[in-house]
Symmetry: C2
Subunit: 436 residues, 2 copies
């Protein structure tokens, strides 16, 4: 590439939004990806664009660069973003890196790193803008003039002489008041805030519930230590929803980190599958147990897939409805018993419908009234049980303060395979023995 | 209730955030729910609190009230919220209601109702705040003083004499400039905007991508017609994620509308289940077909649940990874073929592992080498096929511009039951015939 061919490309890249640079980056080859950064001389643009990349690309970007190139890029970032990057990098890089970045930024990043991951303390931005309560509107405006390097300002948080959060003011209120008014006289004293150790999911719920643009974070002494802005909250909501979706399908989004390497991806997915494997072996044992017990066993085999598929689905519907309902706050913890019971009723109604259908089909195909009755009745019972299990297992996990998403669809299906097949063959044994 | 007992409760309710009133409401009995509104005399508080309720409760609230009580409550709402309510209510109420509310609000609501549901036009707020580009900073500040009844202001959108969107200004820029400056000289001319017919999901993606607090909506003539704020976007993101989660589990969140009525809930869930039912009948036919073909059939039956459970899970893992990856923009449409192929490789590796395991178990249990070989090989093939199907079906739907979430887990499981059982018994037929 000729030296003078650089400028038009650099101009273009500089004009683009960092998010757009990141999306161009995704479509480049490995080689082009390395080159693109050479066309951007402004470190702050590089910093913003890198932050928009996928986690795996971020790790790749930093791991392939000498520390002295990395440090200035990290320094351009807000402290919360810098801390997020440092968390992604391998531990042996972190120590060296922290030593090389500026002292102020370093101590901010180190503070953030002391908080547990996914808490308000870990995701907050520490370079926020706060005003003293005894300032006048005029002084506040002047301070605002000087402040440049702060994240989007729309709420002005007011602190007292000890740094404790004492009020909040919107920029609009600042404009609408006369210059000599004291902030403490015009500010609103009721400020919705969170403590540093609140879970990020609860932070998101608060922002959503009260339609906030930012949320102040305080420490145990009510001292203002950071803010969380709505754009961070949007990322959290997407992240948590994605995590739930993957977990419910019995997989992990961690696999996306490994990109093209199939063996690594398989290794990430195998643990969940091996549990299913073990569970399905139990189903197999149930089948083997009944194989010697029912004379008409051969007649029952073709209906096995029907019982398994239906029980699996009804159960995971119930589990999904309960887990998502609780996550969204549509189902209160106090309602859980009621909802579980309702799911069982719904399962019974579905079971009755499908049981009648299956009875009809089996009588039509085999002409055996006892077989028809037996498959119909067992369908009814297994779907009622499936819906109950689907709701009851995550409900119990919630009561015990475990993450209900662990009771994912594969797990519920597995449980319902075992229960469904037991009920199916058990009913058949009884029907054939007493009616046959 | 004595007349003078009212005041303390009313005072309390008036002080609460509308979102908190809504959450108290959820825990009240039917009777208390009707009474609570009598304790709030301020119509605007009632309006905000009602908006925070569940859809089903909103419908209930409005259906049980005479129109002349409803109209003033609707009038208190922003036009986008009012339009949302009107969309929820039965058609025969809508006409009457629109006639009773104030003329200005009515025409705004009617305009919103002309846009297709879930587009920018339908969710935007039309009572926004815009400034003329030839105004000075001082005039703008004065206008801001007068404006009260507008949604959260933080970006000031600037329009030209024809009402076309010409620039944007933050409140902060307004404060930091001298009073005599013209807005057209200090505004930023590059305004990210959307057209009225853009899908709400794309609106959410733009807000997320560019970290916006609001997004201006323009009509086909580039005239500014509304704004969408970040709090609306958060609701959209939650909604869409929920929709995806329910759809992937093969159910509909419509059921939440019906609350306690189990029969109605069962009716909503049945259609999906009947498809599974039909599919599982095909699985049953596959089993019945092979029942006469393999002499050692009885040996194979206990392993059926293992093949079905594993193929179903591997397939729905692959489907979930592909569908969510595309929804998040982590997988580009151009990558789909590559990802599908990768899933197949991952499936093959998983299949090899589980196949070896299953071979070992079956040999250990039954002592038949041919059976062991047969179940192992068929496990390998059915998991490879399952992973491929799991990715291929939603990938094809995406290529054909259908919603890939229709290829939900139950659907993929069903398909993989049929394929898995065919491969399982097919392999056994071959092994026993040629090696047995």
């Amino acid at each position: 590439i000729r030296r003078n061919a650089r400028h038009p490309l650099e101009n273009l890249l500089t004009k683009l939004h960092p998010a757009d640079i990141a999306s161009i980056y995704k479509n480049l080859t490995e080689l082009e990806r390395e080159k693109i950064w050479n066309y951007i001389s402004d470190q702050s643009i590089i910093a913003s664009a890198v932050l928009e990349l996928e986690d795996s690309d971020i790790i790749h970007f930093f791991e392939n660069r000498p520390l002295k190139e990395i440090a200035p890029i990290i320094e351009e970032m807000e402290s919360d973003d810098a801390a997020e990057i440092v968390r992604l990098l391998p531990d042996d890089m972190t120590g060296e890196l922290l030593k090389m970045i500026g002292k102020d930024e370093m101590s901010e990043v180190e503070t953030l790193l002391t908080f547990a991951e996914d808490t308000a303390g870990a995701i907050m931005n520490t370079s926020f803008f706060a005003l003293q309560e005894d300032m006048t509107v005029k002084e506040a405006t002047k301070t605002l003039h000087k402040a440049e390097d702060v994240e989007m300002v729309f709420y002005l948080y007011i602190i007292d002489s000890e740094g404790k959060l004492s009020g909040v003011l919107s920029l609009r209120q600042l404009i609408l008041n006369t210059p000599d008014k004291k902030l403490s006289d015009i500010m609103s004293r009721e400020v919705i805030n969170v403590n540093t150790d609140v879970d990020q999911e609860d932070v998101a719920k608060m922002v959503e519930r009260y339609d906030l643009l930012a949320l102040p974070v305080v420490d145990e002494n009510y001292k203002l230590v950071g803010i969380i802005t709505v754009d961070d909250v949007i990322d959290i909501i997407r992240e948590e929803a994605t995590e739930d979706i993957y977990r419910m399908a019995g997989t992990s989004d961690g696999e996306l980190l490994f990109g093209h390497n199939s063996a690594k991806v398989a290794r990430v997915r195998l643990p969940w599958l091996l549990i299913t494997f073990a569970g399905s072996m139990v189903s197999g044992l149930v089948v083997a147990f009944f194989q010697g017990k029912v004379t008409q066993f051969a007649l029952l085999v073709p209906f096995m897939p029907v019982i398994m598929a239906m029980a699996g689905n009804v159960g995971s519907q119930s589990a999904t409805i309960l887990i998502r309902g609780v996550a969204l706050g549509k189902i209160n913890p106090s309602d859980i018993a009621r909802v579980t019971f309702k799911e069982m009723r719904v399962g019974a109604i579905i079971g009755l419908t499908c049981g009648l259908l299956l009875s009809g089909v089996s009588y039509f195909v085999d002409g055996s009234a006892i077989l028809g009755l037996s498959v119909g009745v067992s369908m009814f019972f297994s779907l009622s049980i499936a819906a109950f299990t689907g709701a009851f297992v995550p409900a119990t996990l919630i009561k015990l303060n475990f993450d209900p998403a662990v009771a994912s669809s594969p797990f519920i299906s597995m449980l319902n395979d075992i229960l469904g097949l037991s009920v199916y063959f058990g009913t058949a044994v009884m029907f054939f023995r007493y009616l046959g």
